[in-house]
Point group: C2
């Protein structure tokens, strides 16, 4: 006996998942140099949204590079592939109905554009953290600038590797002068 | 003036997201030959779960190969990388609190084991569709068996390419004898 398989007439779509979650999926994309404040703001934003009952996920460099992108390094080619994959993962999560917060240096315009295109109109919010590099280097949260200055790191965005400045970000924030709470307020207005 | 960045003392964790979604994140993994019924059952399962108010996402081959894994082909090496990436994406989605349904031939044990390990104890349900290959070929939903028999496809799992039979699946279903509704019931008991 053979039971014929027929594809289900109805499949669950993004709008069904969004209705169940009672929200619209979004992609919130932080870009900026190491030390510009991406992770700090992304975390603070997620905490705020979560407490409002929004269903969120935070994709950041450390998590992704330890798992999905553990095969990639920091050459231009690998940075491009790193962000290409992340953009597609963020798209899938957005299609699940989530508000996906992405915090990556994401130094090149082309991959940021890809993320924006995948998200679609009114679903992508790019936040450029234009904190001066001198401040980023002073913070040096991960010790990367020291490594770069001492010649032990050749590919740091802003020093040995390019960072292409965004031209059409929805928001630009300098975290050396804007307090976290104020920045979060500005971002929330757009979500 | 420099505002010092301090990482937030509290970050949102999987348990916080699960509490908000009122469910436990899971990874439900369908494996089996082309035509064995993976997509059909995965879709039917998602519809059922969705109607129960569960927050789900369905990862399947067509979607992933058109986006995230568009750079991969069907060599053994690429099939391995295909499933490696998917396992990591499914893990991220599970950490978002979702019940992630994965429907992939996933022919090799090592990558299915990777997915299981990433999901963790009590979060992974492997469903092996052991529908006889003769039935899969008779259905030939995608026309792949015909292509393989006529020599236009060399890498089809079960014909030109290996399929390593699962040994410790949580459920085994032959969709040529088990109706969809019955199969869904069996799976739901384990979720």
């Amino acid at each position: 006996m053979s039971v014929n398989l027929t594809p289900p007439s109805l499949a669950i779509q993004r709008q069904d998942r969004e209705a169940l979650l009672d929200q619209t999926g979004k992609m919130i994309w932080f870009t900026g140099l190491s030390g510009s404040g991406k992770s700090t703001l992304a975390n603070a934003l997620e905490i705020e949204l979560h407490h409002q009952g929004k269903k969120t996920f935070l994709l950041d460099g450390d998590v992704v590079r330890q798992g999905l992108n553990q095969d990639l390094g920091f050459s231009d080619e690998d940075r491009i592939e790193n962000i290409r994959r992340i953009a597609h993962v963020a798209k899938l999560m957005m299609d699940a109905g989530l508000i996906v917060i992405c915090a990556f240096i994401s130094p090149f315009k082309a991959q940021r554009r890809l993320a924006r295109e995948l998200a679609g109109v009114n679903r992508f919010i790019e936040i450029y953290l234009n904190t001066p590099i001198a401040i980023c280097e002073e913070r040096d949260v991960k010790g990367l600038y020291q490594k770069a200055r001492s010649g032990n790191l050749t590919n740091l965005s802003g020093l040995g590797s390019d960072y292409e400045i965004p031209e059409n970000s929805e928001i630009t924030i300098d975290t050396s002068i804007t307090p976290i709470a104020e920045a979060i307020k500005q971002i929330q207005k757009l979500i």
